[in-house]
């Protein structure tokens, strides 16, 4: 039985902080871009154009049924062969955006489907513009319905950013592997970053919970 010894890790405090920041940056950038991508795809799916539907559906199924590692590999190793050369961080952002976007599309689509037609008609009866109907009568209630799934998908994305270390993006997990190779304190290193990930997840959960309570205060009929 070994002794716990976290002391050797203290020297790498800056590296860990740098790693956390990169992980957060990855999650935020991919999260924001993926959200937009998902929204656009979900709205396009609703238009009923056969060709566009086919493209978006294949995109979703391809992404959802292959491992993210392979997707990152393809973007990092295969794209250069067709002339698109991306540094590790950017490649990770692109891969995670595509990944997150596919899940967001499905979530937003189900959210839009959860709004009954009658509600739309009720909106039109108020004599407001189409855009106002879309924003206030369709989009906001839909967003409220899907808020829990969206936020937990973001949490999964946050954990999923660790996969970016496969192509040597210097995020938290990569930092851990680096410090491990320097100090040989495997147990302590991975216990530490597990604790960091768990704290991040709990912090985001609390934030999303509080934000949801604040943002969706209006009462519902249900």
């Amino acid at each position: 039985m070994n002794q716990f010894n976290f002391r050797p890790l203290f020297r790498y405090e800056d590296a860990f902080i740098e790693g956390i920041l990169t992980t957060l940056k990855l999650a935020f950038q991919a999260g924001a871009a993926g959200l937009i991508l998902g929204l656009v795809c979900a709205l396009l799916l609703g238009r009923g154009n056969r060709a566009i539907n086919l493209i978006i559906r294949s995109y979703i199924e391809l992404i959802r049924n292959t491992p993210p590692v392979i997707q990152i590999f393809i973007i990092f190793f295969v794209f250069p062969t067709i002339g698109v050369r991306l540094p590790p961080f950017e490649a990770s952002v692109v891969a995670l955006t595509l990944y997150f976007g596919a899940f967001v599309t499905e979530i937003v689509r189900s959210g839009l489907a959860s709004i009954p037609r009658s509600q739309l008609e009720a909106g039109h009866c108020l004599g407001i513009t189409n855009l106002q109907v879309f924003l206030h009568v369709v989009m906001l209630p839909a967003l409220r319905n899907i808020y829990p799934s969206l936020t937990s998908q973001f949490i999964l994305l946050l954990l999923g950013t660790s996969v970016a270390s496969f192509i040597s993006t210097e995020e938290l997990f990569h930092t851990a592997a680096f410090v491990d190779s320097r100090t040989f304190r495997s147990f302590e290193v991975y216990a530490l970053i597990s604790a960091i990930y768990v704290s991040l997840v709990i912090a985001f959960r609390l934030f999303f919970f509080a934000f949801g309570k604040l943002a969706f205060r209006w009462p519902t009929a249900r």
Partner: protein, 216 residues
């Protein structure tokens, strides 16, 4: 450098068997644990419920990669034992399966109304029999689509075992791509194999879900 040939395809086949083995082992060992977690979460005793909730919350906040490295490198060093790679990887995936499947199954069990338990009790059968004959069959139907969905996630997740050098499909792909310098071909094949396994399961999960909601 060598060109891509039948030897690569052969190595994919062998590696694929390890991917399948990993999935089967994780399910076989993780499912009983998941059932344990699920029953702990609905236990009558608050401390048991609380303990299970805390453990599950924490485990769900750890990335699979960190879990893998922790079990593979951390535990043996800490305990001062040698652990065969397959065992370490299987332990990590067992924990992963137990945690996520446990939450899914808890949801299924909780979806069954209290009155069903009471109906069982009024027949004079024991708590265990109530669960076995009244609750479990209904909960199973409700939790099945999500469980199949998790199976897809697990299959995709086995790709991460590549990080510890465990030769499953993704690792075999990495090695082959490095040797042949043909990442496009190699990763397309690997992606296609995963897709061929996962897509039918996704469709099945969706179909089960439609059937479940249709019968309501």
């Amino acid at each position: 450098m060598r060109s891509f040939g039948s030897i690569d395809l052969l190595s994919f086949t062998t590696a694929f068997q390890y991917t399948v083995l990993l999935v089967i082992m994780a399910l076989a060992l993780g499912a009983p644990l998941a059932l344990g977690f699920a029953t702990m979460r609905i236990s009558r005793f608050l401390p048991v419920r609380l303990l299970a909730a805390i453990v599950l919350q924490i485990m769900q906040g750890i990335p699979l990669l960190a879990l893998l490295m922790f079990v593979y490198f951390g535990l043996p060093v800490f305990l001062g034992i040698r652990m065969p790679p397959l065992m370490a990887v299987v332990i990590a995936y067992t924990i992963y399966t137990a945690v996520f499947l446990g939450e899914i199954w808890r949801g299924g069990i909780e979806a069954i109304k209290r009155t069903q338990w009471e109906a069982g009790a009024s027949l004079g059968i024991s708590k265990l029999q109530q669960f076995r004959h009244v609750i479990a069959p209904q909960a199973f139907r409700i939790a099945l689509p999500a469980s199949v969905g998790f199976l897809v996630q697990l299959i995709k997740g086995t790709s991460l075992a590549a990080i510890v050098g465990f030769i499953e499909l993704t690792r075999a792909g990495q090695l082959s791509a490095a040797a042949t310098l043909q990442p496009l071909l190699v990763y397309s094949i690997i992606a296609a194999i995963y897709f061929a396994i996962c897509f039918p399961l996704t469709l099945l999960s969706r179909k089960l879900e439609v059937r479940l909601h249709g019968s309501r």
